[in-house]
């Protein structure tokens, strides 16, 4: 990702929350760094209390960090103008229920400085985009959590943002809704929109993100392209043309079957040659040898540790 234009850059962000009367303050962010390249989807990952939502609130100007700097589109974010090219979906968005989605978006459009005709056009468009076109003129008091989440996405997309900040966008959605959101995010990225996505759902991050920043206890743990991160371990996978167990006794000790069908062997880099010789010596036919790609969950557990992770899925 180096060399790409950066839409968001965060340097040494620090934030403590007051602990109340005669109680120590609680650090939420302790020197966080983050970069989001233009045209990418970057996932912000971390266990509960890692500082994800605090980071997003700092970016959106909802809370004031004690220290650190935030740059948006190359300029330091100091006032409301820096949010002109942005859209934000807060976690579990909530609205005034007496409004209809159309009236709500009209209100947000006015706040975003859009002219009335553009608000009308865009409202219909974004509501259709999130699958709420038929409910545009219904009061929201009977809407489900998933429907409110879609309205939240619609308001984030209303003013044609170049940069979207989404906090748990799939929260409360049914499986079909999650697939629709994933497809929507991919199409937005293909349309040149940059997205910062905070999520508990590792599968969602793994499916849509180009890069990931993992944070824990308010600090950076790892960041970079997802492909680089997940291929970083010193292990290889050997795919076989057909199942075999003939060579098992001759395989090195580090080898293990990755599947129940005995079609894939996982082996350390050091023992790769020895494993290949053993397999070929036993007559097994090798289809492919590649660096092993971990799952994001494996990578995450390796970095954070099981005790620090409360799986949201």
């Amino acid at each position: 990702m180096q060399g790409m234009e950066t839409v968001l850059r965060i340097e040494d962000l620090r934030k403590d929350y007051a602990g109340g009367w005669r109680k120590p303050s609680r650090p939420a962010l302790s020197g966080l760094h983050l970069e989001v390249p233009r045209g990418s989807i970057t996932g912000l990952l971390g266990p509960n209390g890692a500082g994800k939502t605090t980071t997003l609130k700092c970016i959106m100007g909802l809370i004031r960090p004690q220290a650190g700097r935030i740059w948006l589109f190359g300029e330091e974010a100091t006032d409301a103008r820096s949010r002109r090219r942005m859209g934000f979906l807060p976690e579990q968005p909530y609205f005034d229920f007496y409004l209809t989605p159309r009236k709500l978006l009209s209100y947000y459009g006015r706040l975003a400085g859009m002219d009335p005709s553009r608000i009308r056009t865009k409202t219909s468009y974004v509501l259709s985009l999130v699958g709420m076109g038929d409910e545009a003129d219904l009061a929201m008091d009977k809407f489900s959590k998933g429907m409110l989440q879609r309205i939240g996405l619609a308001q984030a997309l209303l003013s044609d943002p170049e940069f979207l900040v989404l906090d748990e966008p799939s929260s409360g959605l049914d499986p079909l809704g999650k697939i629709q959101v994933r497809d929507l995010l991919n199409s937005l990225r293909d349309g040149g929109i940059t997205i910062l996505l905070s999520s508990h759902q590792l599968s969602e991050i793994e499916e849509v993100c180009d890069g990931v920043a993992i944070i824990h206890k308010g600090g950076n743990v790892a960041s970079g392209s997802l492909d680089d991160m997940l291929r970083s371990r010193e292990e290889y996978e050997i795919d076989l043309e057909e199942p075999t167990s003939a060579a098992w006794d001759e395989l090195p000790g580090s080898a293990s079957w990755a599947d129940a069908a005995h079609m894939r062997v996982v082996v350390s880099k050091k023992s790769l040659n020895e494993a290949l010789k053993a397999l070929m010596g036993s007559g097994a036919s090798i289809a492919e040898v590649r660096q092993r790609r971990m799952t994001l969950e494996e990578y995450f557990l390796e970095k954070i540790g099981r005790e620090g992770w409360e799986v949201g899925e």
Partner: protein, 259 residues
């Protein structure tokens, strides 16, 4: 300005969807219509009594509306987290704060206008007297409501609605008794120095809300005193100055508050 207007309009819409707004209005109208049933309503003073009692009820209505709306709007939006959606748009917190204040004042002004029409029609129908001069009293009630809204909103930046209501009510009471009670407490040499100092600070810092109360004068058709343009301008200046100071402090604190 567009964002301020949008915020103000959202308050008006929100208020029109609150049952408590209609309940307060209806209660006030019913009480006004019941004033002639008061036992002290002797012939000859009935019209003055009706006007004075109606204006008194209107003052209470404006106080209740100002305090309820001013104390609840920010805490409610913070609790419901609708603030996150609105303040993530390219608007400043100052615009939000001023917009909400403007919206509340518009709602109170609308309620006062309706009450004015009710009193006007009631006096006209019952006594055959058309008395548009009462508008001056309702205008000063609105001025006082503006000060109260700015106090309630300032408190609501930090405190829960219940605390805001209590603080604003305390401000209202002290603001109305300061000309008499606080002045005596400050100047009476029999009081200890601390009491005199605290009374003195409160006397000079708090506005004299009783100055904005011209109900009695208007109810008696300005027979004793007349409320002219100069007097009204003075009252506008007084209310505007305190409102501006309180709005500035509240807006500044709100702009620095974590949400």
């Amino acid at each position: 300005m567009n964002a301020v207007a949008a915020f103000a309009w959202s308050v008006v819409q929100d208020s029109l969807h609150r049952k408590v707004f209609y309940a307060i209005l209806a209660f006030t109208f019913i009480l006004i219509l019941l004033v002639p049933l008061l036992p002290s309503a002797d012939i000859g003073v009935q019209i003055d009594l009706l006007r004075e009692a109606s204006l008194g009820l209107t003052s209470i209505m404006a106080f209740v509306l100002a305090v309820i709306l001013g104390s609840t709007i920010i805490p409610r939006e913070r609790e419901k987290r609708t603030l996150y959606n609105t303040l993530s748009k390219p608007v400043s917190r100052w615009q939000y704060y001023l917009g909400k204040f403007t919206g509340i004042v518009v709602v109170v002004a609308g309620a006062l206008l309706m009450t004015y029409v009710v009193i006007l029609l009631f006096v006209l129908i019952k006594f055959g007297v058309f008395n548009p001069g009462m508008a001056k009293a309702l205008f000063t009630i609105l001025l006082e409501a503006m000060v109260l809204v700015s106090v309630a909103m300032l408190a609501s930046v930090f405190y829960s609605p219940l605390v805001c209501v209590m603080l604003t009510a305390l401000f209202y009471v002290v603001g109305h008794v300061k000309g008499d009670f606080l002045y005596r407490a400050m100047t009476d040499s029999a009081n200890d120095p601390a009491t005199r100092a605290i009374s003195g600070v409160a006397y000079y810092v708090l506005p004299n809300l009783e100055r904005l109360n011209i109900n009695e004068t208007i109810a008696h058709s300005e027979r004793m005193f007349s409320v002219g343009a100069t007097e009204l301008l003075l009252l506008i200046g007084l209310a505007a100055a305190f409102t501006a100071i309180l709005l500035f402090v509240g807006g500044y604190l709100f702009s620095r508050r974590d949400l």
